[in-house]
């Protein structure tokens, strides 16, 4: 083998390139923060982090993250509600553990299947395969096992129970938040939902009325100006609602 083709040399060069990359990165550390925030890297890392766990755990992770939205570290005086939330959290952890057991089952089956596939392949053919070929074969086996597991009664029941537990936990957190909000005089989630409900219903009534009154009263001129700015909602200016909701 010629010197240029020596894989160890290539590896040495790669290590040297990495060293240079990190050295230059460290040398320009002041600019790194800015470069990081302006680059697409935070986005890519955030996306990757969303799928940081193995398959089967993504749903569990997403449910857990959703449920753990607000941090409640400052809450100290709502014993009953805190206890209730803690109890819901413990229940969620139990369901999460049960889910993880079921979501983890196909990995062992996939490993056994893959091992038997490899051992049954002719020796020379197996030697010819590169690591990407082997990884591709493993992915196919594992994918089929995971999908098969996800459609099983056990998995579906476990994920349903986890979802129920996580939703309950989140609901109890919301109760605590609402109690705090009331104490400090802030509108609660329920207040917000009431307002948006009334707004939606009023808008429906207004538009139904506009239709009843007739297109001439509700429609703006066909060539009326269109603004890209968010207009003020007003019955007197139907264009702001899109104009022609007859």
């Amino acid at each position: 083998m010629s010197e240029g083709n020596n894989p160890l040399d290539a590896l040495t060069q790669t290590v040297a390139q990495w060293s240079e990359f990190w050295r230059s990165a460290a040398g320009s550390s002041d600019a790194m923060g800015e470069a990081w925030s302006k680059s697409v890297l935070p986005f890519v890392f955030a996306r990757a982090a969303e799928t940081r766990s193995g398959p089967g755990n993504e749903l569990a992770d997403a449910i857990e993250r959703m449920a753990q939205g607000p941090r409640l570290a400052d809450v100290v005086d709502f014993d009953r509600k805190l206890l209730s939330a803690f109890s819901a959290w413990r229940e969620m952890q139990k369901k999460l553990a049960a889910y993880n057991v079921i979501a983890g089952r196909p990995w062992m089956r996939a490993a056994e299947l893959y091992r038997s596939t490899v051992s049954s392949a002719p020796g020379e053919a197996a030697e010819e395969e590169g690591w990407r070929d082997r990884l591709g074969a493993w992915n196919t086996v594992a994918n089929n096992e995971l999908i098969s597991n996800q459609r099983s009664e056990d998995f579906l029941a476990a994920q349903k129970e986890l979802l129920q537990a996580a939703t309950e936990f989140r609901a109890r957190q919301t109760e605590i938040n609402e109690t705090i909000a009331k104490i400090v005089g802030l509108p609660t989630q329920r207040d917000f939902d009431d307002v948006t409900r009334q707004l939606t219903e009023l808008r429906r009534e207004l538009r139904a009325l506009s239709r009843h009154v007739g297109p001439a009263a509700a429609a703006p001129p066909a060539s009326g100006p269109v603004t890209a700015e968010r207009p003020q909602a007003s019955a007197a200016h139907p264009e702001t609602n899109g104009g022609d909701g007859q």
Partner: protein, 365 residues
């Protein structure tokens, strides 16, 4: 040269992979968020109604088909999938074939839109858009082009307002939500199976607690459908394409689209999951919007139903079911190879979908 042994080969492969990793790190640190642009085909805002916006695309070719076409995506994900990048844009492709294309963009629903129902989307927003397009163009009927859930909304509109719809074009649209049982491919239809596994009270509580279906949650359900692909996306697929700037940008644009997944408005989500996915009311003739039953037999417009043969999200059988329920005598189907998203963004499908649709529309203009 002597034959490469397994250790040498492994070392070489590891070295090559490391070089790619290095290149990926360098390239990604240089690409800025604003460099990854999606939904960029020029369009003009014509109307805004709450958070919903109606746009008219700038023409890219002389007009070939006069009837205006209104495009709508669903509430899970955004329309930008149909306009991902210039060389992979369903929108641009339609425009290049001389269509007068309009877009209904649902915007970014939040908890504020919690109480919006499918009734609102069909009988208010779509209806307002149709009225506006008719007034702007002088036509009394339009072509509706729906994608996925947007196709269901368009189907409902065509059934409830047949006098306003000349053509109905559906792509990857579920009609019979239980027809996944007729599709034997286990890679298809997990969303149907998953939704049916829930109790209706689970859906109610989920919506009541979160105010809608969180986008992140739906993303995780979609990830489950292609588990190993989800697992290897950032550590293998990304490294694989990093040699090629064009492929890397494709990857990043797709990621940007996937990340832009607003919450599905709450009450509409209840209807979507319970009335349609769980109880299959659309094909049973029991789906009620604005106090009226949506009767698919009332659809009198010409109908083109396009579905993807390897669609793991909407199994082809769920789309094909429309044939047995629609009232129109002019009904056509186009099965195309590819998957749910690939139909719109893969290099192989570019041009095929728009060519078929524009030819079908031209014949009925």
């Amino acid at each position: 040269m002597s034959k490469e042994g397994p250790v040498e080969r492994a070392t070489r492969e590891f070295s090559e992979f490391s070089v790619k990793m290095l290149k990926a790190a360098r390239l990604l640190s240089e690409i800025k968020d604003e460099d990854v642009e999606i939904g960029a085909t020029p369009k003009k805002l014509v109307m805004r109604r709450d958070k919903v916006e109606l746009f008219r695309y700038e023409p890219l070719a002389p007009r070939q088909t006069e009837t205006p076409v209104i495009l709508a995506y669903g509430l899970i994900g955004r329309y930008t999938m149909a306009d991902l990048q210039p060389d992979r844009s369903f929108v641009r492709s339609l425009l290049s074939r001389g269509l007068d294309l309009w877009l209904v963009d649902w915007g970014q629903p939040t908890r504020v839109e919690r109480w919006l129902t499918i009734d609102d989307y069909v009988d208010d927003y779509i209806h307002a858009a149709v009225e506006r397009v008719c007034r702007e163009t002088g036509h009394d009927k339009v072509t509706l082009l729906g994608i996925c859930e947007g196709g269901v909304f368009m189907t409902c509109y065509a059934a409830l307002h047949p006098d306003k719809v000349k053509n109905l074009v559906l792509t990857i649209t579920p009609i019979d939500f239980h027809a996944d049982r007729d599709d034997l491919d286990m890679h298809h239809g997990f969303l149907n199976v998953w939704t049916r596994s829930l109790d209706s009270t689970d859906v109610d509580k989920l919506v009541d607690v979160y105010g809608g279906l969180p986008g992140e949650f739906m993303s995780s359900v979609f990830s489950l459908m292609t588990p190993m692909r989800s697992l290897t996306k950032y550590n293998l697929d990304l490294i694989d394409v990093v040699d090629d700037q064009a492929k890397l940008m494709n990857f990043l644009r797709m990621e940007k689209w996937l990340a832009d997944r607003p919450a599905h408005p709450g009450e509409a989500a209840k209807q979507w999951l319970k009335d349609l996915y769980q109880n299959n009311k659309l094909v049973k003739g029991e789906f009620v919007l604005s106090g009226r039953k949506v009767d698919l037999a009332s659809i009198s417009a010409s109908v083109l139903n396009v579905y993807a043969l390897n669609d793991h999200i909407i199994p082809p059988t769920c789309s094909q079911a429309l044939r047995g329920h629609v009232g129109s005598k002019d009904y056509s189907e186009i099965p195309l190879p590819g998957g749910h998203v690939g139909l719109f963004v893969s290099s192989k499908s570019q041009g095929v979908l728009s060519k078929d649709i524009s030819a079908w529309l031209a014949a009925r203009d």
